[in-house]
Symmetry: C2
Subunit: 331 residues, 2 copies
């Protein structure tokens, strides 16, 4: 038995969540509904204009791993924080869920950069617009990837966002090689349509060569394959990868693979804050897969977990996901 | 016209909020429903045992001042944070509400203590049990009190908790003298029955000499006057101070003064997290008083503001308090 069932790799961030009116986005040049990378100066400026906020541990793959940890899945996380107060908060929150988090923290005297943070502006419609100051999370390099730990994980879960960093291509390659070399499988989430645009060719090459499970929403999948219709994009994905889970918002999810395409419905959760919906979908889906459930059940588990996280502010679950699966008749 | 209508003085803290079962409190020696002061070592130990948390700016008087800021009352705050990440969060959150916050931050190289934090453990019944590491907030001293700013404030709002600090008696005395010397008025909140026990004689002397408005809940008022019944405690308060607002949980508030005792009812808000209930009561009550409303309306405004903050996690309001006053027919 492998030590970990899933190891996530991504941007280790603390979310700074605040409710705003739509006019705030327009006045401050924040693009609605997507993630924009910002530098330290812009982060200070934007934060200065924002109202009061909540700080909650975030990071896309970290949210997925936190969900898996809550579900009792043996999990690990690889991502870079500094040994500052926000880094301590990030490390505490993920470890308190039983997740192994051993990536060396960047020492305080090593750089002026800080633990990364994502300013999440939530508009009254529940949509979130993200401005991310990556800080030291961008410094994740091959040296941070422990090959033995990768070989000892049944699944490697890669966050597309993290592919942006200078040394991260090498980190991805090292992690994939170590995990697959020991018989593990690889999942990736495309993260964001603009992230896909930045890395389309590299993503496609990686997916075709090494990825066993692809997570995306419809915008990301359309961006990856540049097709007219989602049906065509799903066909293209079926040719490239064993399994694709493509979420389609309140319509649920399409799961594409050798079997064709299976749908699972979303829950009717009231949308309060969409942050983390895709991340928790992946957690629920992987939980089903690890427990040998059929794909329709995996898809529904993803939707139930996503439904929990969109019903409140913040991208980490606040209720017992297993109890929700039970209430939905899934376990 | 004075520059500020209300200036608050208290412990500048960031709340670390987490949901726990009652068994966690018992197993970890946390006394339910009250605030316990802890040292740095205990803070590290307790945090290590806690699950994932949200970080939200807190501090009792700071919550009151944040509420007043949201209500458009010209407000200021005096409290001590360090120039670390949590200190920056605290300063951002209160300033973003238009509150003046000019207390010098403790420099990073000056002490190993950090910005104070309050671990708020919320049990399923909505009760909160607080373990406070004061950090640099305990260092508030007379030198941090700007006499000119105090003279330029119509009300001074003192947090009983802050009376614990070694140099804080002098800070309180300086602030009271400057404010009252310029024709201002003084309010104090008793904060906690154990805080009252620690300082009963000093509180009584201060209340009799200088306080115009006393905020307390029934446990605190009974502790202050050591009477058998709340009616007797209210009578004693009437003899000592112009106005006393004594909250009685879901039964609302008794407002005692020269007029006798007037009651105002609580709202029927579902209790999610009691943190900040008393603080926001004070904000609503002071808002009414500053706008010349009669005492029953002031009391109800306090209850409506408290009802907002107990309906969600965290001690700062998340909804427009003025809109809630309007919906309740108060403005």
């Amino acid at each position: 038995m492998k030590r970990h069932e899933v190891t996530g790799l991504g941007n280790a961030l603390v979310d700074v969540l605040s409710r705003v009116e739509d006019s705030f986005l327009a006045e401050n040049g924040v693009d609605k509904g997507i993630m924009t990378l910002i530098d330290g100066a812009r982060a200070v400026d934007l934060y200065g204009r924002m109202g009061p906020a909540h700080e909650v541990s975030g990071g896309s793959a970290a949210n997925t791993i936190a969900g898996l940890g809550m579900l009792g899945v043996r999990s690990a996380y690889v991502g870079k924080v500094k040994d500052d107060q926000l880094g301590a908060i990030f490390a505490h929150d993920i470890r308190s869920l039983g997740v192994s988090f051993e990536t060396p923290m960047t020492r305080a005297d090593h750089t002026a950069d800080e633990t990364g943070r994502c300013m999440v502006l939530v508009t009254p419609d529940g949509e979130r617009s993200m401005s991310t100051y990556l800080g030291v999370s961008a410094d994740l390099a091959a040296a941070d990837v422990d090959e033995q730990a990768m070989a000892d994980s049944a699944w490697l879960y890669l966050e597309g966002y993290r592919f942006d960093g200078p040394d991260s291509h090498a980190a991805f390659a090292k992690a994939i090689r170590a995990c697959k070399g020991a018989g593990g499988k690889v999942a990736i989430t495309l993260s964001d349509p603009f992230c896909v645009e930045r890395h389309r060719d590299a993503f496609l090459a990686m997916i075709r060569a090494d990825v066993d499970l692809l997570f995306a929403n419809e915008h990301e999948l359309l961006s990856l394959y540049q097709t007219e219709t989602l049906a065509d994009a799903l066909e293209a994905a079926r040719a490239d990868v064993d399994l694709t889970a493509c979420t389609v918002g309140e319509r649920g999810v399409h799961v594409a693979g050798a079997h064709g395409v299976i749908d699972a419905p979303a829950t009717d959760a009231a949308l309060v804050d969409a942050t983390g919906a895709g991340d928790l979908f992946a957690a629920g889906f992987l939980y089903g897969l690890l427990h040998g459930r059929d794909l329709a059940v995996c898809g529904r588990m993803g939707c139930v977990a996503a439904g929990e996280v969109i019903a409140h502010i913040g991208a980490r679950p606040e209720h017992d996901l297993k109890a929700l699966f039970r209430a939905d008749g899934l376990i």
